[in-house]
Symmetry: C2
Subunit: 174 residues, 2 copies
DNA sequence: CCCATTATAGTCGGTGTTGACTATTCGGTC
DNA sequence: GACCGAATAGTCAACACCGACTATAATGGG
C-alpha cells in the first residue's frame, strides 16, 4: 500500500529515526488511524532502502544493542512529494463489510435485526465519545485533522443507521 | 473475512447455484459494493464445504461442461443466521489511507494541497452522480439500502473536504 | 465452415500483512 | 545477586486475496 510508504517517508523527512522509534511513534500516536505493525514497517523500510529512497547507518553506543538509523534520501524526498500529492487527490472507494448484512437483512425477523442495529448504534456512540475526548495533538496539526475526519464519518454512519431504523419501524407498523 | 462467507451462504440460502452463477451475480450486481473475485469465491466455497456448511453435487447435461451445484446445509443455515446477526451488530472501524496525506499535509505548499483537494472533490462528485443515477434494484431491496449507505458516506466525505478547504483558505488569508 | 464469444470449471504463484517468536543489554526492585 | 521489564533489533511461517492463466463445449455472426 502506497500510503504506508508515504507515512514512513514522511516520518523520516521530519527527522531521521531508528526502527524502534518509528514503531513506537506509530503505536503511540497513530494506533487507531493507521494500524501498521512492526513487521510491516520493517518490510517496507527494506523495500524503500532497496529503491534508494532511504539510507541506513548503524549507530553503536557503548555495549548497547546497535541502533539502525534510517534517513530519507534526496530521491526519497522527491518521491515523497509525489506520493503525498497522489494521496491527497485520491478517492479511496471503500467496500463495507457491513453492506453484506444490509443486503441480506430481510432474511432475519425484523425484531432481531432491530436489536442488532441498536447494538451497533451503541458501539458507534462509544467510539464517538472516545474520539471526542481525545485532547489536541500539539506536534502535528494533521493528527487533529485526521481525527476530525474520523469523527465526521462516524457521525454520518450513526445518522444513517438511525434513518434505517426509522424506516424499518414504519414498515413494521404498516 | 467473515462477511464473504456470509454473502455466499446468503446467496445459497435464497437458492442453490453453481459456481458460475455465483460469480456472475457478484460481478453484475455487487461489483462496487463487495468486490470479491472468482478465485476468492472458490476458495471460500471449498472451505465452507469442508466445514459442512454447503454441499455440492455435479450436474451434467449432455456433453456440456459439468456444473457443480452448491447448496446450503442445515448447519449452514444456522451459521448463516449467526453470522448475519454478528455482521449487523458489527462496527467495522476503517482506517483511511487518505488520513496519511491529511497528517502530512503541512509538508506541501498550501496552493498545491488545495489543488489536490479540488481534484479529490471532483472525483467525489463523479462518484456521487454515478450512484444517484443507479436505478432501483427490484430483486433485493437490500441492494438499494446498501447503495444509499454508500451515498450517505460519500456525501459526508464531500462535506468534510469542503470544510477542510474552507479552513485552509482562511488560514492562508491570516 | 470458421472464429469469436460465452458458459462453465477451476488452479497457482505472487503480494501485502500480521502474529508469534528470538536475541541482547541496561536499569531498577526484591 | 537474581530477575523483570523496557529498549533495541529483527525473522519467519501463515493467511487472505487477487491476477493471470488454462481447459472445454455450445452458439451465433460472417
Amino acid at each position: 500500500m502506497d500510503s504506508r510508504s508515504l507515512l514512513l517517508l514522511g516520518m523520516l523527512k521530519a527527522q531521521s529515526r531508528h526502527g524502534y522509534q518509528i514503531n513506537e511513534f506509530i503505536e503511540h500516536n497513530l494506533r487507531d488511524l493507521i494500524p501498521m505493525k512492526k513487521s510491516t514497517a520493517y518490510t517496507i523500510l527494506d523495500r524503500l532502502g532497496e529503491a534508494g529512497l532511504v539510507s541506513m547507518v548503524v549507530d553503536q553506543e557503548g555495549n548497547r544493542p546497535p541502533r539502525k538509523v534510517y534517513s530519507i534520501t534526496e530521491e526519497g524526498e522527491r518521491q515523497f512529494r509525489q506520493l503525498l500529492k497522489d494521496n491527497l487527490e485520491m478517492l479511496d472507494l471503500k467496500h463495507f463489510e457491513e453492506d453484506v448484512g444490509i443486503l441480506l437483512m430481510d432474511e432475519l425477523p425484523i425484531a432481531e435485526a432491530m436489536a442488532a442495529l441498536r447494538e451497533k448504534l451503541r458501539r458507534i456512540e462509544l467510539e464517538v465519545n472516545k474520539y471526542e475526548k481525545v485532547p489536541h495533538h500539539e506536534v502535528r496539526p494533521g493528527v487533529d485533522m485526521a481525527i476530525d475526519h474520523h469523527l465526521s464519518l462516524l457521525k454520518a454512519e450513526r445518522d444513517w443507521v438511525l434513518r434505517l431504523m426509522g424506516n424499518l419501524r414504519t414498515k413494521t407498523q404498516v
